[in-house]
Structures are given as C-alpha cells and as structure tokens.
C-alpha cells in the first residue's frame, strides 16, 4: 500500500527534485501524456471524482464534486491557490519549492479535464523562492512542450501565469483571491454566485489548492480507485501535515490519515521537547479550535472525526503546545493575527477581532476584570453565534469566526489559568 505520493521524489533527490530533468527521469509528465493521448477529458475528471480526494485547502470539499459545478460559459479559468498564509502551514511551500513540475503537471491535466486553456497560480508574496522555481519550471515545461501551444501535439493548449500576492492572509479565501488577482481589494465576495459559475473576471472558475492539484498526476496514472483505497473511506489519500511548536521533529510529514493524534505527535512528531507534558495542540491551523490531551489524544486524524470533535484538519497545520505555554498569550497572538488580517469590510469581524485583541492584551497586562471572560465569550458569540462547529457566522467569510476559536478554546479548557491572571482584588485592597 502506498503511504506517500507527494514527497517521494523530493526525499529521494533533495538537490534537484525541482528540475525538469529529474522530474522526467523519475516518471514525470507520464500522466499528462497518458491523459492527452489516451483519455477523454471527461474520463480524467471521472478518475478525480472516483479518487474521493477532498480539497486540501481547509474546507475539505470533495474535489470531483467541485469540478462538476463548473459553468459552461467561455472562457473558463483554473486558479491554483498558493497563498498559504495560515500560521503554522508550510506544506504548499515545500511542494512548489521542491517539486514544482508535479504541480504544473497536475494543472495541465486538470485544465485538460475541465476544458480550460488559461491557469493562474496565486502565490503568497513572501514565497519568492517558490515563485522563482515555479516560473523556471513553467519556462522549462514550455520549452519541453508540456505547457503552451499544442501540448504533446494533442491540440490542447495551456498558458500558466504566476501572480504574487501582496501579503494579505484574506487573499487565501478563494473569492478574495479572485478580487486580488483582478487587481481589486482583497475582500471576500458575496456568495452566490460561486466561483464555479462566476469567478475570475466573472467567468466560470475552479479554485483548487496546491496540494489538491499536486495529487492529480498520481491519480491519473494509478486511477481514482487506487487513490480512494489509501486511508479511511472519507479521508482518502495522503495528507501533508505541517507540525510545529514544542515538538521534537517539526516539519512537513506526509501521512495516511486514520492514525490517532497520540501516534502523530509522539511517533511521527517524535514527542514533546525536553520531555515536557503536552498541554494542548491546534489540529488544523490558527483558525481551528484547540484539542487537549484529556479529550482528544486517542481520537483519530481523520477529516470527519476531527470535525465531529469540534475542530478541523484544515490546511494541515498542527501546532503543539507544552506545559510551559501561557495560553492567554497564545490566544492573544492568534487573535492579533486575525485582527490584523481582517479585510475590514464587514462589521463583526472588523470591530470584534480588534476588541478581543484589546481585551486579551489587557488581561495579559494584569488589568483584566472578572467580567472580561464572559465578555470575550459574548463578543465571540456575536461573531460566531452559538460557537458551534462548523461555525455559524454573522460575517461574510469565516475569518471573523476563526478568531473566536482560540478564545473559546482557552475559556473552555483553561478558564482557571485566565482567572489566575486577573489582579487579586483582596491583595490590592490590603
């Protein structure tokens, strides 16, 4: 059984896995050749649908279903989301820096399957090296006839353009990304219409994540059913997890889902630094509610199970915190991030995230009030009513509700620690 798909080449050939020579020598562009020469576009799409791969960007929506929504109007676009900005995620970075041709081959096959001749890769502005390598790879692929006009004499043509973002987290939200790509402010759009019907330049557009698309060559070559066979039923395939924090082996780990968090943290991640106790971890990036050892260590790393436990695997950022962690400071750091990254267009997110940041800062400064804990929870509730999962929203997009995740998590699991930071009234009065 295959246990790794995306990182095999880069591990075997760390010095040149990003070059076209190495890529072709290790079987690269075979899938594209197979698709163009032997398969009809619908057949390729059918394999992706059969693979049961769920979008790796965070929402976990089945990729084949999303493709099925693509409107018929021309032109249509494929936009690859490489604006990886969630604190704690760095798996797309590795994929574009270390194996850009794998992504490009995926883009070419996907575009062929979807009847698209123009694709964009929206790359996070800070990923200068990734963008350079991608551009070089595009040039190489064009030169070799894997991109551009009449690819492999099949009559299929594809133009791929890289666009560097300006450094806004919100541009990872697919409609804000499209606005940014069009030269507008990076603000999420109202849905409907969804991008598949009216996306880039108001034309039908598929927006997929780097990791999702990077799986397409393997699926094409080995068949959708082979992919679906890997891992649990509703978490098919492999997943790149970026593990960071107080852990002995931080880094990207491509895993087959289904293991427990204990196995992930202690076996794959090598355990907690300095032999410390595990205090909490964030299972899927800054926007996901936290997990704690008591309740979650023996639950499974599976999309639906994590969801049922009130959080998400998201883009795959696991942030581990040991016993030395000041949870208020940790939550403040995350809330400050969201307040800073709020696009500011809708009221609850613009005002609420900053307010929560201010309250947390005050508590850290020793100026907290007993009522601040309830106030934090109520402000959170006014952004994400009920604080349930998946989150309800008073906002346009999920950024605001994301900022409530750390707040609700520390109040839920570490209320006594917050209270301990409040000034001692009796001492003050004495």
């Amino acid at each position: 059984m295959t246990d790794r798909i995306l990182t095999v080449r880069m591990e075997a050939h760390p010095s040149d896995s990003h070059t076209i020579d190495r890529y072709v020598k290790t079987g690269g562009y075979k899938a594209l050749r197979k698709a163009l020469k032997k398969m009809k576009p619908e057949a390729v799409a059918a394999e992706v649908n059969a693979s049961n791969i769920r979008g790796r960007g965070g929402a976990g929506f089945p990729m084949g279903v999303k493709w099925g929504f693509l409107g018929a109007a021309e032109p249509r676009y494929l936009v690859v989301n490489c604006d990886e900005s969630e604190p704690g995620t760095f798996n797309d970075r590795q994929l574009v820096e270390r194996d850009p041709h794998q992504l490009l081959e995926g883009i070419a096959i996907s575009s062929y399957a979807l009847g698209i001749s123009r694709a964009f890769i929206y790359v996070r502005g800070e990923y200068a090296r990734g963008a350079r390598r991608l551009q070089r790879a595009i040039d190489e692929a064009k030169e070799a006839g894997y991109l551009g006009e009449d690819i492999l004499s099949s009559g299929f043509s594809l133009d791929v353009t890289i666009h560097l973002g300006g450094g806004a987290y919100i541009c990872g939200e697919e409609t804000a990304l499209l606005n940014s790509l069009e030269g507008r402010r990076g603000e999420p759009r109202l849905k409907p219409p969804f991008p598949a019907i009216a996306g880039l330049y108001a034309k039908p557009t598929i927006v997929n994540n780097v990791e999702s698309i990077s799986n397409v060559p393997w699926i094409t070559l080995n068949g959708g059913l082979a992919y679906a066979d890997i891992g649990p039923d509703r978490s098919a395939g492999t997943k790149m997890l970026s593990i960071s924090g107080h852990i002995n082996k931080p880094g990207n780990h491509e895993i087959v889902m289904g293991m427990t968090w204990r196995e992930l943290i202690y076996d794959i991640g090598g355990g907690i630094r300095d032999g410390n106790e595990l205090k909490a971890w964030i299972p899927g990036g800054a926007s996901s509610p936290w997990f704690v050892p008591d309740k979650h260590l023996d639950t499974r790393v599976e999309l639906d199970e994590v969801g049922a436990n009130g959080s998400m695997i998201g883009a795959g950022a696991v942030v581990v915190m040991d016993e030395t962690t000041n949870v208020v400071a940790a939550a403040h750091s995350i809330v400050r991030f969201f307040a800073h990254e709020s696009c500011g267009q809708c009221t609850p997110c613009r005002e609420g995230t900053s307010w929560m940041e201010d309250i947390l800062a005050r508590i850290m400064d020793g100026r907290g009030r007993p009522e601040d804990i309830d106030l934090l929870m109520d402000v959170s509730d006014n952004i994400s009513p009920g604080l349930s999962w998946p989150p309800a929203m008073t906002t346009i997009c999920p950024l605001g509700p994301s900022a409530t995740a750390p707040v609700a998590s520390i109040v839920r699991y570490f209320r006594d620690e917050i209270e301990a930071m409040m000034p001692n009234k009796e001492a003050a009065n004495a």
């Binding site: 307040a339 709020s342 009221t347 613009r350 609420g352 995230t353 201010d358 009513p385 008073t394 346009i396």
Partner: protein, 804 residues
C-alpha cells in the same frame, strides 16, 4: 402584474413581488429590518450585517443578510427571534464601540440612522472600555464635501454612489481590519458633479457639506417639497429652511424624474437666493445711475412708458426662470395689454419652439429605463442635464446600447457603444451618412434599428445650427418604435414655451396659426394680436436698427447668453426704454431704465413643466428678499395701471385660468396636482390629443467649411449670475480654455498651455485633446474669459505667445 412569491415572515404568510431582495420585500409588507449599507438605489454589498435575519434552510435556521438574499417561494423568515435580536444588538454594539458619539455637535444628530436604529434595536449601554480608534477630524475630500472618518461605519454607500451611479470612481477604501477608512486617491480630490449625493446617503455624520456644517439642527428645519430650477429635468427636492433662510436642499426620490439624485448645482445653488447682491428694491435710472424707488413710482413709470408705444414696437425676452403662472401672465400681459406678439423665452440659444414643446412621439424620462437603444445628439448631458446623464448611465448599466454623436468628447463617451465624432459645423453631412449606415457608421446604425429607441436631441453647442437637432429628431422618428426627448436646458423653458412665451406659440401648445383657438383665446383675454411675433435675435436686430423701441427683460441676460453678445449690447443700448424684472444687476439689466426686483426660485409658488412635459408643483419656502415680488403679481398691478384686469394677483387663479384656456393643460388645476397626482407630477396633456403635433422630418443643414469651426458647449459650473452668487460652488466655475486637436495645434503652432487668441479678442490657454476633430476648436461657453464671444461657426485662432 409582476410575478409574486409567497414568503412567511414571523409566522405570517405574504405574497410579495418576485425577484426582490428580502429586505425590500419585507418592508413592502410592513416588516422593517434595520440596515446601514442597504440602499434601494445601490447594488447590495452585505457589509454592515445589520439586516441579518434567520431563514429556514435544509440545515435548519441560518442567519443571512436580508439585503443580499432574493426572495423565493416558500421562504420562511424570522426577523424577531432571540438569535436575530442578539445579532442585531451585537452589530450595533460593534458599530458603536469605535464611534465617537459626538452626536451633540454632529450635523447628522437628530436625523441619523445610527442614532435611530440604536434607539430601536441597539443594546442599552456599551461594554467597551478600551481606547477608541482615532482619526484626524474632518478632512476635505473635495471643495464641498468633508469626511470625518471616526464617525464612518464603512457602509460603502458613498463609494457605490460615486462609482456605480455617478461613474466617478474617486472614493475608495484603504488599509484593512480596524484601520479601514474611506479615502480619495493621491492628488485626486472627490471632484464629482454628484458629490453631494454622498452626504445625503451617508447613514452617519461622516460626510458633511461645507455649506451646511453647524448651520441648523434637523428638528428645527422647515421642509418644502419643490423642484430644482437648475435645469429642465426638474429634480424633486426638499428645500430646507431655518430661521427664514434656505440652508439645505436634499433630493426626493421621485422615481419618474430623479430617483433621489441631484447634481451638486441642484444641491448647492440655493445660496444665491440669499446673495447680498440681490436687487431688493425697484431701481430707476436717474442722472447718477440707478436710484431706489418705490414700487408704485416704478410701476407707474413702466405703465406709462409701455403704454406709449405701438404693440409691435415692444418685445419681451425671458421668462424661462419663472413658474408657469408667471410665464403665462407675461404672455397674457404682452399679448393682451401691450398688444405685442414679440416674446421669446429662448435667447437664440435654443430650438424651434414647435419642436421643443410639441415633438411627437415624446418620451418620458423613465422610458430610458425601458429603451434598448439610446441615441444622444446634442449637448454633453453631464454638463447640461446631469441628472438625465445619471438616468442614461443607469439604462446602460442595465443593458441599453448607447450611441453618442458630438463634436467633442462628452461625459457619456466612456460608456457609449458607439461614439460618432463630427467636426463642428459638418453635422448634417455626418447625420446623413449615419442615417444611411455608410461605411464606418454601420454599427451605430444597427443599434438604432433595435428598438425601443429613445432619442435625446438638442443643440450640441451655441455655435451649432438649431436645425441640426431637428434633422436628428427626424432621423430618430423614422425608426420604428422610437420616442424623442428634446434637450433644452434652462430651468422652466418648457413651461415658458407651453405658456406661449414664443413668437409662434399660444398657451397650451397651440400654434399662433391656429385661428380657431386664437379666437377662443381672444374671447378669454379681450385682445389678442394675430400672427407670429419676432424671435429674440430678430428683436435684438430690430432694437439695434430702431424698428423696435422698447424691451421687457425677464430674468434674461442676452449679453451673456445669446449667440451674438455684441448685438445684444447694441440693441439694449439703442432701446428707448428697457424694463428688467431681475434678481440681480446683470450685464444686460444694467442697461435697463427700470429694474423691478424679482422674487426667484424658493420665493415663489406655482407649477413648472420639465423636458418630458411633466407638470409639478413649485413651492415657496422663504419670503422674497427685500421688496422682491413675483412676476404675476407685479404684472397684475402694472396692467391695472394700464386699465386692464389680468386676474393674476393670486397664483391659484392663474393656474385655474391656464387649465381653462391652455388646451394641453386642461384639467391641471391646483386641486388636481395636490390631490389627484401622487406628488410626482403629471405629464400633460392629461387626456386627449396633443393640440399641436410637431413631426420632425429629415432636413439638410449646410455644411460649414472654414479653417477652425467652433464648438461652444455649456459647462455645468459656468460664470452665470446664479453660479457667481452661490458661494459653495462659485469657486468651481470653469476657466476659459481652447481645446484643439494636436494636429491643428502643431499648425498654429502652439503647445499645451500656450496662449491663443480667438477672433483677436479672447485669449486663453491651449489644451491638446485628440477627441476634438481636426479642424475644430472647443471653447466652453459663458465661463470666466469667454464672456462676449460670438457663437459663429468659424473663428480665427492665432498663437499669442509660446509656440514657434
């Protein structure tokens, strides 16, 4: 009957119009949902989140913004649940935490949606103890609008109004998160002709106008519904007064006319009503210039002098800035008391009165909403009829095809599917090619064949032959399914023509050649000279030559406004007697023997008729300045002194008389306008046929060929007496400039910014503009530095300095 869908709101079933936004549908059945960013006339953005309601979905009740959600059959909505109430209170608390709460010194206090909705839906008190966000207190974003970013709730109304409605994308959001703010672009102020609309739209006190700041409190304001007299659209306005003065003009949502929008000129010109330069007492020319006189002495003088001439020796020019009742009284006075048919409300700057008053088939403004193709042959709508410009923009936004023909670039070119550019003076030639779909014109011609077509025809500039508009009207009329609007621009000119202030029209859109009607009118009036009178240009020529001897000027300034200012000057100097009814001493009324102080817009009541033939009420909101009087009252007294009872002392009596004797106005009584129209006015005639139907046909106009042909278009902010006297906008008056095609400039030779002279007299800087056809020169009319320039079709242009 529009399709309906059934929705359930708070347990009650309602049938509502399909295709609506939920917030609008709910309001139509009495369920008001609070809102800030939503506005009926703007595209939804769903930003403020105030209008969240719970809607039943497949996964239970979900909070959704009712401003972006379209109603669908079977929709179940809860606007009052605990979840909704908490969301509303939460959003209001969020909006208020950084709001400065400086309501006691805020102009919006008392009429503020944020205050009102906080009272109704908000939490009782704030839980916010942190420091509020600070911005520099108001910063000017234009000459007339200030922005206080601390008060702003970032609802996006102003940005949408500027971008989508006005087409001036000059406001934007900058920065993000808690630091988001509205801003202008670097070195680009919010200089839009429509900037004042944003002040009215702002749901808080963030946008204020310089002229109203700290002037009044809303609960002290008097409100009077009237119509704007800035142009012939007659936008519905709420004229607001405090302590006997006009302090603010707001637009009223009359969807048939202006949909609530105003141009800044509509909005800000009212300050001229209170200008210190108003004529406030009768002035009689004495040995040392004008001397103040009593009304009775001045009127006695006027009555005796006018009574001393043969009817035909006297003429009247003007009346376009007056109500229908004033215009009618002037027409009746001149014809039945003075005995003259020499009357003209146009100054040689307009169109054939028959075309303007009675063109058939006549369009309405809201026909533009239904037009497949709109054809503009005439002045730049953005400069001359700005609110009609907005309506055309709206139609194009909704899919209409726009065809624009003009001798220079116009405000509409950017959204036109086809722009036909012709050298000033050669319009006839181009129109012919265009009508027959010659090479290069096929696309535009094809668009015209797709009806319904609304043609907007007028005179592109003072230098253009007025027959051109008639020729263009003829082309439009030859199309299947077409209607026409003519584009005269001066205030109540259509009312004045309808009241018979034209040498060839009698009141009620009747030709002077209609003997049967003339007889009827003579019975009513006692006396009526027959035949056609003299036009303004003819009157000025006759005065200058001595064939005519006396002149009545009514709010008209021919020295400024007629095509040949020199002729006007000579005529008024040669006249034996000139009486001017005017609010100001103008370049023309300065030649008068008697100036009678005229009450003006804001001070008089009556009715007025706009370019589509809509009659609306005009209402006084302040007392006339000093001793100023309405024209009908003054003429009634003067007629008495001449032995005739005009029965014109009371406006309502005049309105009733018009309804009785002016055929197109049959039935337009004060009661009808007040009680039987919905307040938005009525198109005349109410029923029956138009008494006179002017059918334009294609006519040929000689093509002018000379070295440089003059295009002399109007500018919104000109050097007219009203604009000069309105401090808010006086500084915006355009300066003279000569726009030339680079090729012509290189022939002179001149460069950008060099000075040229026109007709050896008028000097102005050169602006190079490749939208100007080769062989043309474009000079704005009646701006600082073009006073007195004759609107001839060819002009001599020379380099004065620079060049070479």
């Amino acid at each position: 009957m529009p399709d309906t869908v059934s929705i359930n709101i708070n347990g009650v079933a309602h049938d509502v119009e399909a295709g609506q936004r939920l917030i609008v549908a709910a309001e139509s059945v009495g369920e008001v949902i609070p809102r800030f960013c939503h506005h009926d006339k703007l595209e939804p953005v769903g930003k403020c989140r105030m209008c969240l309601v719970e809607v039943e979905g497949p996964r239970g009740k979900v909070l959704m913004p009712s401003c972006t959600l379209l109603v669908s059959d079977g929709m179940v909505v809860d606007t009052e649940s605990a979840v909704v109430k908490k969301a509303q209170e939460g959003v209001l608390e969020f909006l208020l935490i950084n709001h400065p709460l400086d309501c006691p010194i805020c102009d919006k206090g008392g009429e503020c949606p944020l205050q009102d909705q906080t009272m109704q839906w908000g939490p009782g008190e704030s839980r916010f103890v942190e420091a509020k966000r600070n911005f520099e207190k108001p910063i000017p974003v234009s000459d007339v609008v200030l922005l206080d970013r601390e008060r702003c709730v970032l609802c996006d109304r102003c940005v949408r109004a500027a971008d989508d409605i006005a087409g001036d994308p000059l406001l934007t959001f900058i920065d993000r998160g808690n630091h988001v703010q509205i801003q202008t672009f670097p070195n680009e102020p919010f200089s839009s002709y429509f900037s004042g609309n944003t002040v009215q739209l702002c749901p808080v006190g963030a946008l204020t106008s310089v002229d109203y700041r700290f002037k009044a409190r809303p609960w002290d304001l008097g409100h009077t519904r009237s119509v704007s007299f800035v142009d012939t659209v007659h936008s519905s306005v709420d004229a607001q007064t405090s302590r006997g003065k006009l302090v603010r003009v707001y637009g009223i949502e009359n969807d048939r006319v202006n949909e609530g929008w105003l141009s800044d000129k509509d909005r800000f010109i009212f300050s001229a009503v209170h200008s210190p330069d108003r004529v406030t007492a009768p002035l009689v020319r004495g040995d040392d210039g004008f001397e103040e006189a009593s009304w009775s002495d001045a009127m006695a003088l006027v009555a005796s002098r006018l009574g001393g001439y043969l009817g035909g020796e006297v003429g009247a020019i003007g009346g376009a800035n007056n109500t229908n009742e004033e215009a009618y009284t002037l027409a009746k006075f001149m014809r039945s008391v003075v005995g003259s048919s020499n009357l003209d409300a146009q100054l040689g700057d307009g169109l054939n009165p028959h075309l303007a008053a009675t063109v058939t088939p006549r369009a309405t403004i809201d026909d533009l909403d239904r037009a497949a193709t709109i054809f503009v042959w005439g002045p730049d709508l953005k400069e001359t009829l700005p609110v009609l410009y907005l309506r055309v923009r709206k139609a194009v936004r909704n899919g209409a095809t726009l065809v624009v023909a003009s001798p220079a670039g116009t405000g509409l070119d950017a959204i036109a599917a086809h722009v036909v550019r012709y050298r000033a003076g050669s319009g006839s030639d181009v129109l012919r090619k265009f009508a027959s779909g010659d090479k290069g014109y096929e696309g535009a011609r094809e668009a015209l064949d797709a009806g319904p077509v609304v043609g907007l025809v007028g005179r592109s500039s003072l230098a253009e032959d007025p027959m051109m508009a008639e020729a263009a009207a003829g082309v439009v009329r030859s199309l299947p399914d077409s209607k026409l609007l003519t584009l005269l621009t001066r205030a109540n000119i259509y009312g004045a023509l309808d009241m018979g202030l034209a040498p060839n029209l009698l009141p009620g859109r009747v030709s002077t050649a209609d003997d049967e009607h003339a007889e009827m009118l003579e019975d009513a009036w006692g006396h009526l000279p027959r035949g056609t009178g003299r036009s303004t240009t003819q009157m000025l020529e006759d005065l200058a030559s001595g064939a005519m001897r006396a002149m009545v000027l009514v709010g008209a300034d021919p020295v400024r406004d007629c095509p040949d200012p020199g002729l006007a000057q000579r005529a008024l100097e040669a006249a034996e007697f000139v009486v001017a009814f005017d609010a100001f001493v103008t370049d023309s009324s300065i030649h008068a023997d008697v100036i009678l102080p005229a009450a003006v817009w804001g001070e008089v009541s009556g009715t007025a008729t706009n370019l589509e033939g809509r009659v609306q009420e005009v209402n006084a909101s302040v007392r006339p300045a000093g001793q100023a009087r309405s024209l009908n009252a003054a003429l009634d007294d003067i007629a008495h002194l001449m032995g005739v009872d005009l029965r014109a002392a009371k406006v309502a009596d005049v309105t009733r008389e018009i309804a009785a004797v002016a055929p197109a106005y049959a039935g337009i009584t004060p009661d009808h306008l007040t009680f039987e129209s919905d307040g938005d006015g009525v198109i005349v005639p109410l029923e029956g046929e138009q008494p006179l139907k002017f059918i334009p046909v294609e006519v040929s106009v000689p093509v002018v060929t000379s070295r440089l042909t003059l295009h002399f278009p109007d500018a919104l902010y000109d050097d007219g007496v009203w604009n000069r006297n309105a401090p808010t906008i006086a500084g915006l008056a355009r300066q003279a400039e000569a726009r030339l095609h680079p090729r012509d400039a290189s022939m002179l030779p001149v460069h950008e910014g060099d000075i040229v002279s026109i007709e050896e007299r008028f000097v102005m800087p050169v602006t190079l503009d490749d939208t100007v056809p080769v062989g043309s020169i474009v000079v704005p009319r009646n701006v600082v530095g073009t006073k007195g320039l004759t609107a001839s079709t060819s002009v001599k242009v020379e380099a004065v300095e620079g060049g070479a």
